[in-house]
Symmetry: C3
Subunit: 160 residues, 3 copies
């Protein structure tokens, strides 16, 4: 009745599983595992919607290798002093396109932050990602989190 999409079932599930793992690692506070969800040679950026739409390069955070992600985790763990909080992600409504040997994936995200027992809308936006196979694992080659609401830069401790 409906023509089969060109994206295979296993590919879809592997993509959804990578996002589930991403969410699980961050929300579970297992930050050491986070860089391993990316290629060695990767891009990770967080930027406001306004800059994204106007193609302005300025990002709130911008990393360009897995090593920089590892450094970030170290900084968060050892050098940034902040009141503890936990996150809870909802990633939904995946838009997936094949692009050569990679997948362009967009998805809406909502990150709720809980601090002193109170949950609040922390960051709301959309991921614009590129995923590909690295060895025998699917990983992020690019991950760009574009946020709708104001993010006070100093308040951004953990990755989105």
């Amino acid at each position: 009745m409906i023509a089969a999409p060109r994206l295979g079932v296993e590919e879809r599930f592997a993509i959804e599983d990578l996002y589930a793992a991403y969410v699980d690692v961050l929300d579970g506070g297992r930050y050491d595992e986070w860089p391993h969800l990316f290629f060695e040679d990767c891009v990770y950026r967080i930027l406001p919607r306004e800059n994204w739409e106007r193609r302005l390069p300025l990002a709130t955070l911008s990393f360009e290798s897995r090593g920089m992600l590892v450094d970030r985790v170290y900084a968060v763990r050892e050098t940034l002093f902040h009141e503890p909080y936990t996150m809870r992600h909802t990633v939904s409504n995946y838009k997936i396109a094949l692009d050569g040997d990679a997948y362009r994936v967009e998805a809406n995200y909502v990150v709720l932050r809980t601090k002193r027992g109170i949950s609040e809308l922390y960051s709301v936006g959309r991921y614009y990602d590129v995923l590909a196979i690295d060895g025998d694992e699917l990983r992020f080659r690019e991950k760009v989190a574009v946020f709708d609401n104001e993010l006070i830069p100093n308040s951004l401790i953990y990755p989105l």
Copy 2:
């Protein structure tokens, strides 16, 4: 181990893809594309949960053709003056049933609205939709958004 559901895999993915496109069009502000996700002969309604449960006909918005959706987009664009805002949808937990050549789909939605940099819970509810193949595209034949929380009618500019 688990008996195969009667709904095919490709059908499920096509349904999820239509919702992903719907969300992408609205959250991305590409309102001109929105009417094309519907049949020419369609129903689009927004109504409060109380009216839905009591089968009261009164709707906050009610359109009965693609042409009316096009008119709405024009009105929103050209005649309604309002403070700009953006939306971010989360549509989740699809309940899908075959109904002849159509699909009855229910799903929870949450729409977050961001205005002057602040995100808030804007509308929370459930879609009660009918989807079917129109030519070679899956489209909405009916879309009913039933909201739990109070919606100040004048504040409803863009479709949910």
Copy 3:
């Protein structure tokens, strides 16, 4: 391109469908149907994240059979006096593992509560569940809701 996961397509969809049914029953206020989504011999617990992470046994609610769930529904319906509210769940980002003849499923949840027309973040957390086939239905053998934010115990009327 991507190796097929060992979890079958039909199994995945049956799991997602059980969550969709769970959400539909609770958000639709059809509490009588809720116990039937569980095994006769089941575990249902709600506990704070802190207790879960420290393996502390104290739970906010703890039931150990379908009969206790039925009792809870009766209590909620007949003996607890409270201001009416409705719930709206978002369950997302499933992490699924086969465990013998059962499925270990984790997923993030957000429950929005609407009371007097106002929606608010009511409970935010993660489900740690065990699902299995019971007769010819997939049901919850264990369901543990671990919440991030403070839940005022008396405010917890309906199941999460």
